[in-house]
C-alpha cells in the first residue's frame, strides 16, 4: 500500500471519528422520537448549501 493511500485512509478514519458519532446521535434521536411534531419534521430540512462543503 502506497503512502498516499495510507495517508488518505488515516484521514478518512479521522473524519469518521469526528462525524460518525454526530450522525449516530442524530439518527438515534429520530428513531427515539415516537411522535414527531411538524417542527421536528421541518428540522430535517437540509440547510447547508452543497458548495459550502467544498470551501
Amino acid at each position: 500500500m502506497d503512502p498516499v493511500t495510507i495517508g488518505l485512509m488515516i484521514s478518512i478514519i479521522e473524519k469518521m471519528l469526528v462525524y460518525g458519532p454526530k450522525v449516530v446521535v442524530e439518527i438515534s434521536a429520530a428513531f427515539e422520537n415516537e411522535d414527531p411534531t411538524a417542527e421536528d419534521i421541518r428540522n430535517l430540512k437540509i440547510t447547508m448549501e452543497p458548495e459550502e462543503y467544498f470551501k
Binding site: 488518505l8 478518512i12 473524519k15 417542527e39 419534521i41 421541518r42 437540509i46 467544498f54
Partner: protein, 130 residues
C-alpha cells in the same frame, strides 16, 4: 331499540375508523420522519466526505461541480418532500400526503443517482474514475 343500537354501532365504528386513521397517520409520519432523518444524515455525510477529498486535492473541479449540481437538485427535492410531510402532520390532508409520496419517490431516485456518482470517488480515494 334497534335504532339506538344502530347509532351506537355507527358511533363505535366511526370512533374505530378515526382511531385507525390517527394510528395510520402517526405510523406513516413516524416512518417517513425516520426515512427523512436517514436520508439527510447520509447526504450530509457523503457531502462532507466529498468536500474533504476536494480540499485534500483528491478530486478535480469538474467532479466537485457535478457533485454540487446533483447535491442542489437533491437538497431541493428533499426539502420539498419534508415540507409536504410537515404540512400533512399539521393538517392531515391526503393531498399533502400524496405530494410527500411523489416528492420522496423522486428524491430517492435522485439520491441513488447522487450516491452512484460519488461512490467511486469515495471508495477509491478520489482517484480519477473512467
Amino acid at each position: 331499540m334497534i335504532k339506538r343500537y344502530s347509532v351506537l354501532v355507527a358511533m363505535i365504528t366511526l370512533s374505530l375508523v378515526v382511531c385507525l386513521g390517527l394510528i395510520a397517520c402517526a405510523t406513516f409520519t413516524k416512518s417517513a420522519y425516520q426515512a427523512g432523518a436517514m436520508s439527510k444524515a447520509g447526504f450530509e455525510l457523503t457531502m462532507t466526505g466529498m468536500g474533504e477529498l476536494y480540499k485534500e486535492g483528491f478530486i478535480k473541479d469538474t467532479v466537485r461541480d457535478e457533485t454540487i449540481k446533483l447535491g442542489k437538485a437533491y437538497k431541493d427535492l428533499h426539502n420539498s418532500a419534508i415540507e409536504a410531510l410537515a404540512r400533512y402532520k399539521e393538517k392531515g390532508s391526503p393531498t399533502d400526503k400524496q405530494a410527500y409520496l411523489q416528492l420522496a419517490s423522486e428524491a430517492s431516485v435522485l439520491l441513488a443517482k447522487f450516491l452512484n456518482y460519488v461512490r467511486p470517488y469515495l471508495l477509491d480515494g478520489g482517484k480519477e474514475v473512467p
